[in-house]
């Protein structure tokens, strides 16, 4: 099932320190405060990231959740990946290898776990009820 709401892809700066984080947050705040925002942060250009960057991501996440939206991360550079894993922040976000994967993930209704069931040929109705199976079809 598709969604009519747009998915916004935002490219992260190559350096995410305290100052850059503040600027970035100021820049994206209107997006995050829109109705049910669907946002993807593109990390492919990130070359350096510190704890302030992780704080900023958590702040963005909390803002998005307040407005019933979702924030996903895509194309993590090794630097960003290592910092997110080190700070355990990677467990809080859905992370995708490519931006298109992340964008596509918004178009399905089912969460990832349920989608796997559908891929394996297990009838979704068995686990998610009749309404879910209709949507998955």
């Amino acid at each position: 099932m598709g969604t009519s709401r747009p998915v916004i892809v935002k490219r992260m700066p190559d350096r995410i320190n305290l100052q850059q984080s503040r600027e970035f947050l100021r820049e994206v705040q209107p997006l995050l405060r829109s109705d049910r925002p669907q946002v993807v942060f593109d990390f492919s250009a990130v070359r350096r990231m510190d704890a302030a960057g992780v704080d900023m991501l958590l702040e963005c996440m909390s803002e998005v959740m307040k407005h019933d939206g979702d924030l996903k991360l895509a194309a993590l550079s090794p630097q960003a990946g290592v910092v997110l894993e080190l700070t355990r922040a990677d467990r809080l976000f859905e992370v995708y290898d490519t931006i298109s994967d992340a964008v596509r993930s918004f178009s399905g209704f089912l969460p990832n776990a349920m989608r796997h069931y559908a891929e394996w040929g297990v009838p979704a109705a068995a686990s998610a009820g009749d309404s879910s199976s209709k949507l998955a079809a």
Partner: protein
Amino acid sequence: MGAMELAAIIVVGARQEEPEAAAKHQPAGAGFETFAGIPLPLLDVVGKSVAHHVADRLRRAGVEAVTALTDDALYQDTALRDGDGQAACRRTADVWRAAEDAFSSYADEGVDQVLLLRLGPYAEFELEDFLRFHQEHRQTATLLCDKNGPLDAAVVQAARRNDAAFLLRNGLRATRLPSEPYLTRAYVNPLENAHDLRRLAQDALLMRCEIRPHGRELKPGVWVGERARIHRSARVLAPAFVGAHSKLRAASVVTRCSVVEHHAEVDCGTVLEDTSILPYTYVGTGLDAAHAVAGFGKICHLRRRAEVEIADPRLLGTVAVSATWRMMKNAASLAAYLPVQAVRGLASAGRRTQPAPPSPPGDVLGSSRQHPAELEPSPEPLSASNEAAQFAGDFAVVRRYGNE
């Protein structure tokens, strides 16, 4: 073996060309045979640098004269010294030239044979067997090899200075005259990247090689160096090594062959899993370092195959090398910490309340039954069972590391 029959010259680093095969396996952003720009043999593995382990092993095998040379400028930094403050290597401007000079001086002293080693690869070959092979084949120089090729080591007759010079100028990979190499089947670690350094630490903890942790075995599989400080709530799960003067703060966890080298600090709640923390490294609060080698402001993630610089000292910092400076920093942080805690204590004293126990049926004023002693916080640290008892029955307490 009589005294001064055999001498050894160890050259650390100094490999000019990187083999193509090795380049494919290098982590992104990492140098060949280096971590954070430092030659891997100068980095610590379970308490001592690899160069130090090799020198000790040679001495145990009866080699009394060992000269270790490196051209790495960073070695002058005392952070690279071993835990007991002893420098393992002498720094020179031209290491191969210095090795030739050292060879000549050994020859002048009447040494019969000289063992030349480049680290590089770490090999636990049988020295006596190697020398016997060299003598039986009546060669001027014999190379040490394993199934994958030369191990950058050779034994040379001290009288054959030209052969030694040729060997040293060819990086200990070719002899001047044709000779049969000695093939070893012993433990070999190529030490080409941080992955190999990590594997060497694992092999030492799992007794797969001859390297033994430099510390006291407090319980089976857990070695602790002298003056290491481990908080009572920190957990060290075997096999693991905690180096001399290192600190594990509250609720930190060291598990799965993790190694904390000397003077390193692991802050509260941080989990180290299959990780080596290099000397004088501070690891921040509440982190989760897994499958990594961290130190000198860099972390190499072994699964992601990436060496990344961490500029944020809250995540990965450096501990001061000077003991005086460390003491001053600790005193300053304590001076900053105490007033904050005093203010917090005063502010919370008025608000301190305890949730009321469930009232028995019919008891409307249940909270008035509380005994005054129950309002005092427990001086004992919470055990896992106490923590579990604090939650309602529909909460699950997940067991992840030990009883955490």
